[in-house]
Symmetry: C2
Subunit: 419 residues, 2 copies
């Protein structure tokens, strides 16, 4: 069977299974997820053994150590995978929730009811835990899932998948509801992107290049974020002590993630008071500063000149672009022009200014007096997330269980006809 | 200026204007819409004069009379356009609504707030009233809009647009918030489809061919429905008198629209009781019947044989496909296989059966004991609609004012940082 036939067959099977999963009760779904969680723990030796093959291949091909670290499965991480599946059991089942009810003058009762989307495709890179996390979230929300992991983690993904697929045979959930595209042929992704007849939604997770490729070539709707160029604006009305703590946290606490701050904007009236100690602390934490001309004038030494390119950059590293602005308006314009519509914050004690910032910044999450680092499914109280969306349609911000659902209008009549 | 530069400039201007419209109060938006409504009435002679040119061109090119009728602007239709804008004033402004509030253990207050999408592109065919209707709905929901109408209505669209654009100068809404792509060059649509940097959402309205073209080539997210292949299933547990009325209404009341019934499914146990009088009445109303072998056996004469193609057909005409099925399951499978995920109904007195049908049919709107003809923004109580969506993401079913909005998380802190 050639690759295309194989993937089409998978997608067809997933579509049939999706209709079955949609009808399974919360109790049965939870029982199944519990079994999957146990199966991960019971097979930890097997998982580690298979993982070693990926690690060996990574060593051979001189993969950067950060990437090798992402691949690694040890006891702690296997426990975390099992915990994450277990956690899914405790999340409220979104399916069947009546979102709105309309009673029409002609007596029709219209209920807007939350239902599964159908078949979800997840395209991801090196972390093998995505395999089990996404299976858990998709099944809990009544969907089928097709997984396409990165080739670096091929052995690990196959192992996790086979353990979970086998465990499903002892549950009410049909095995066909989870599918793994096991080919490392890049053509496999091309084929998947065209299967809009069977797949309802694609979520690509990984680097900007992968995501752009998927978004540009997919016939299936895609939920995504390209990058996180997050800003913090320190207003003239800011509590500078609070601003200091928030900016430090947003940049330094975990610089390699999408909700970390990449550009700090500071109002000119407080720049000479705020910047020296702030930058001093950043430098002590190993942060490289790239500043606008005004920033460099205030700080005199030790600040590289920012280029135009710096304002659009997602460093994912201990590097920070700094710009002094003349007004709230300039700050908002800068964010709307150079940002990535992810997470942006203002530090201010002026409520009117805060309200204007929240409304004017065109991002998924806008903050007043808090670190952008909170943009996260767990931090929002949504539970595990499939990803963050900077799209404006369907789901925006952390994409958790509800993001894997849609709705349907169910209309109850007594013989009404249209006149 | 070449066509591409021209359209890009329009889109850029719309994007800037969208940020302004997003901040305008309900009162000011309503005042503006009131002015637009008046302007339509005050310029009715001009609109009719320009419309004549389209009608002349249509006569020259021998356009079918149904299409010519769609083009026509008379006093009644001009009044309807003004009324529709006026109606928009009375709709509740969706912007700023707090959809959900989360207070986190660390004190963060997360508000999920309804906000405009930004720039909406509408691609449509011959009806000129779409121009004013969509301007009204997009502005009320705080968006900018780019319109691309059909070439048959070019003069009418240009006239309506110029009247409304001029009227905007006397309001708080920037004129740039409404844009009309005035070229009849088909290339214009190609160019628009690639402007995902500026345009946030496309809604194509028209024939299946146009919509498929847009969906396949767009880099911008699209909300759409290809066609409406709607079913009514007459169960063995149906009140056959009610079933008769519902089926007749769903097929005959207005056969040329997407929520009309195209296929009637009948359970075998009631087929010989139900079909003869039903088909007799259909025939008296001029409906051509295409039946499955069992249908033809029961009715003996006057029923064409349905081919496999008939089950997928959107006739938009007085033609009906009829199939006798052996079970609820066969009915559901037929609908999920051949339907268009639009609107499908069951007639039954059995509550369990009804509940199973509602959950199992994968369509935007599922009905029990009512005509599928109710799938409509006004009938649902949503007001005017931009279209019907059979997509599963963002909006499903009638797409009215709320379908033109998204949400944003606005997070209020007191200096919280992530630990």
């Amino acid at each position: 069977m050639n690759l295309e036939t194989q993937i089409v067959k998978m997608a067809q099977a997933a579509k049939v299974a999706a209709r079955q999963v949609a009808l399974i009760s919360s109790t049965e779904k939870n029982r199944a997820l519990q079994r999957l969680s146990q199966a991960i723990l019971q097979n930890s030796d097997f998982l580690k053994k298979e993982n070693e093959q990926d690690l060996k291949a990574a060593a051979k091909s001189n993969l950067p150590s950060a990437l090798v670290d992402r691949l690694l499965l040890n006891n702690k991480r296997i426990q975390a995978m099992a915990d994450s599946l277990h956690e899914t059991v405790r999340l409220k089942d979104p399916i069947g929730e009546v979102l709105e009810t309309y009673r029409r003058p002609n007596g029709l009762l219209i209920e807007k009811v939350r239902v599964p989307i159908g078949v979800i495709g997840i395209i991801y890179e090196s972390r093998p835990n995505v395999t089990s996390d996404c299976i858990g979230l998709c099944l809990k929300s009544g969907n089928a899932v097709i997984l396409k992991g990165g080739k670096e983690a091929a052995h690990s993904n196959r192992a996790i998948f086979s353990v979970l697929r086998k465990a499903l045979t002892k549950t009410k959930i049909p095995g066909q509801a989870v599918q793994l595209i096991d080919s490392t042929d890049r053509q496999a992704v091309h084929i998947l992107l065209k299967l809009n007849r069977y797949v309802d939604l694609l979520v690509p997770r990984g680097g900007e290049e992968l995501i752009r490729f998927v978004a540009e070539h997919s016939l299936i709707p895609v939920v995504k974020h390209y990058k996180g160029v997050c800003h913090t604006y320190v207003s003239a009305n800011a509590d500078l002590n609070m601003a200091h703590k928030i900016c430090f946290n947003a940049k330094v606490q975990r610089p390699g993630v999408c909700n970390a701050m990449e550009t700090m904007l500071v109002h000119k009236d407080v720049a000479s008071r705020f910047l020296p100690t702030m930058i001093y602390d950043f430098k002590n934490a190993g942060v490289e500063i790239r500043g606008c001309p005004l920033t460099r004038r205030i700080l005199k030494t030790g600040v590289k000149a920012a280029t135009e390119k710096d304002w659009d950059e997602e460093y994912l590293d201990l590097i920070l672009a700094v710009k002094v602005v003349h007004s709230l308006r300039e700050a908002v314009d800068h964010i709307n022009t150079h940002g990535s519509q992810h997470s942006d914050a203002i530090v201010t004690d002026d409520k009117k200014e805060a309200a204007h910032f929240l409304k004017s910044v065109d991002s998924a999450c806008t903050y007043v007096n808090a670190s952008t680092r909170f943009t996260d499914g767990y931090e929002f109280g949504f539970g595990a997330e499939v990803g963050i969306s900077t799209d404006k349609l369907h789901v925006r911000g952390p994409m958790a269980l509800e993001g894997l659902t849609t709705y349907q209008y169910q209309i109850h009549g007594k013989g009404q006809i249209r006149v």
